[in-house]
Symmetry: C2
Subunit: 217 residues, 2 copies
């Protein structure tokens, strides 16, 4: 498994993203258009105030079209989140190709930078912090830890870190920490409070380095 493989590859099959897979060309445009609309509306009014009518109008579509693709309101939000995750991974993949990472820390740092950049440029990116809610039923979240597992496999292969459940757990913790601190950075300041961003890098680095050393490989 290579770097680009890890972050770029598709193997992220949305559980229930759309009701009906688009067949004609215009519908794929519609689909992304709906998500674009949802993204800007989220930035404008927030998660809770968003209505399906707003999304439809913004996308130049009718209510019915929204429900053709998504079973309900929250499904739209979830789809938006999945797209954001995909774009994040894609961005990381690109950056890793440009500036080849020399060690595990470079990789993590690139990921943090990508996250910050997308937070700044991508409408509705704060949807990323829209994870656990939905206490509805005790359904296992297939995404939970998925990302950490893939990164772990990659780090083991690329940089020879000691793998296993230990590494996966720590990466999951690191992801959780990083996400929360960065979200805090952007909670008030739309450009992101630099102090928190710096602190995120420090914390993540120190936490992982504490177990695997700053210069492994």
């Amino acid at each position: 498994m290579s770097l680009s493989d890890l972050f770029g590859g598709d193997p992220f099959v949305p559980a229930q993203q759309v009701r009906i897979e688009p067949i004609q060309q215009r519908s794929t445009a519609r689909l992304s258009g709906l998500l674009d609309a949802a993204a800007t509306v989220v930035d404008e009014v927030g998660f809770d105030r968003i209505t399906t009518a707003m999304v439809a109008e913004r996308a130049g579509a009718s209510i019915g079209t929204v429900y053709r693709y998504y079973p309900d309101r929250v499904a739209v939000l979830q789809a938006l989140r999945e797209r954001a995750v995909l774009r994040f991974r894609h961005r990381v993949s690109e950056q890793l190709k440009i500036s080849a990472a020399k060690n595990w820390w470079d990789t993590v740092d690139v990921a943090i930078t990508a996250f910050v950049d997308l937070y700044r440029s991508e409408p509705g990116f704060r949807i990323m912090h829209f994870s656990d809610r939905e206490g509805a039923s005790s359904v296992e979240d297939p995404e939970s830890g998925f990302f950490a597992r893939r990164v772990a496999a990659m780090l083991v292969e690329e940089f020879g870190l000691a793998g296993g459940d230990e590494l996966i757990l720590r990466l999951e913790v690191a992801v959780e920490m990083g996400d929360s601190i960065l979200s805090r950075a952007f909670r008030i300041d739309p450009q992101g409070d630099e102090r928190f961003i710096v602190e995120c890098r420090v914390v993540t680095h120190d936490y992982l380095a504490g177990y695997y050393g700053p210069n492994v490989r």
Copy 2:
């Protein structure tokens, strides 16, 4: 400012908790009953699916009664959250009295334990992770950092830590990290995945100790 002061004292004035202050006795019972009902419903169906009708029915009250006390649906959730915060602070205060903390780490550890205990025993306690959402408007959240500021003042006074914005920032980061990791611990396992709880203590301790040393005072 003393420990019990910090965590126990009232000085947490809810912005807009209730519409009408209860005058007769039965109404205070109603109020807490409504919140109890909201708490169990939150555990059952989640934040988004909760309806005012559910809360009313569960509390053995009518719709109108809910709205007598709370201006709208989210106000009920906010009130529930405020009560949870209050109970958390109260619990910490009690525990600090029982086992007098000898240093800053004892204090933090007690807080983490209290958080975990309440997560396990208190219905709807995961409402605690219901903080930032409400991206609606760029209204400054007065709560953001409030807790960290108070804890900082207390640590400076009790244990002689170097204070200032530096300490406040770090405590805010620590609170954010701790909350997210603990929430992750309980995301799937209702008893809390012990691995994440342990990791939360380690991370919080190492992070703060890295700047102030493990044995200050």
